[in-house]
Symmetry: C2
Subunit: 210 residues, 2 copies
């Protein structure tokens, strides 16, 4: 099955303080970790980058991202060849996702899902803050946190994005269309780099062999 990756690295690192996808992680830029994994799992790779950063990355195609994450994903989708049957979307901010995880989400789509995404149990208590500041505690046994890489039937993902919604989670757009979204086990070490301390954490995990 012809499979392409869209690796999203278009952010400007407002929360992080700098474009985190270019920071050094154990001797390689954060982004390079994802590009190498994408290359092992897929037939082709599109990388979505901020303006003026398109050169020098080991992808088949590099495009410039948009103002939102969904706009960046759409820029990537536009570059994916029309004969791709499965498209995997991955955030460069998750450099530790392993090839096996990419392969399991792809396998779930091959087996019939419209989308397959890694999900992990919620280990902390989660509360919802009401408009009046009141708190309610959610039943965490029913909650999961979701990660990338997320694999999709190419036609379903394109349709979901044609509707033009905006979400930091592509699977949510597929859910909105009524598509079948399967969960695969998301490893706890598939860390998302959010704060600079997360780079220290990611380096420690790599060094320990995880």
């Amino acid at each position: 099955v012809r499979t392409w990756a869209v690796v999203v690295a278009g952010g400007n690192g407002v929360r992080f303080g700098a474009p985190k996808q270019f920071a050094d992680l154990a001797g390689r830029p954060v982004l390079q970790w994802s590009l190498e994994t994408a290359r092992q799992a897929c037939d082709g790779v599109v990388v979505v980058l901020p303006p003026q950063h398109e050169k020098g990355w080991s992808a088949d195609l590099a495009v410039v991202g948009g103002a939102t994450r969904s706009a960046s994903v759409r820029a990537g989708l536009d570059a994916v060849p029309v004969d791709a049957e499965i498209i995997v979307v991955h955030d460069a901010a998750r450099p530790l996702a392993r090839t096996e995880l990419w392969k399991s989400v792809i396998a779930a789509v091959v087996e019939g899902a419209d989308a397959a995404i890694p999900a992990a149990p919620v280990t902390d208590t989660v509360k919802e803050v009401g408009p009046d500041g009141s708190l309610s505690t959610l039943d965490r046994s029913r909650l999961v946190t979701v990660q990338t890489p997320q694999a999709f039937r190419a036609d379903v993902l394109r349709r979901a994005h044609q509707a033009g919604g905006d979400s930091t989670d592509d699977a949510a757009l597929v859910e909105a269309l009524g598509g079948r979204v399967d969960l695969v086990e998301g490893p706890p070490d598939n860390l998302k780099l959010t704060s600079p301390a997360d780079l220290i954490v990611a380096a420690a995990l790599i060094e320990s062999g995880r």
Copy 2:
């Protein structure tokens, strides 16, 4: 204001593989980190332990925990002197909580809250899994994950636990009584040790000076 700590270390580490509160973290047992912080922030410290582990810890009082986390908290509460006005409950699985965090939850209760708890923004997408396996994506801007230490007016916490509920989150019991629960900023590095990899992460954070 007379303030006591209840440090909960009664777990048997089923998910972790061993009682994680006794594992080594940068040269000291995980539990000792919390006991030292508790000592700096409070007038007295009760530690709640599994059977046969009561000796050798630097707390004013050591008690044996119960079958659930709430039963363990209640065992700790029973040992706190009746003249304590504020009680801070903390999980030994969060060894990196700093004295300043303890002081800010205590200060919020001094200023009038029934409870004050550290809360952090949710950085991952969170989905709810319905009884039929269907997924819905929650609005994460309205969600927070909560941590310990959690500070309480002593009478409110005792009343909340007299109702006999069971929750991994004491603040939820106070919410159920209609009490005022204030949020303070929960640092992203106030890690909860859940998997053995988290020990590596915690050690790296300590070593980096965070």
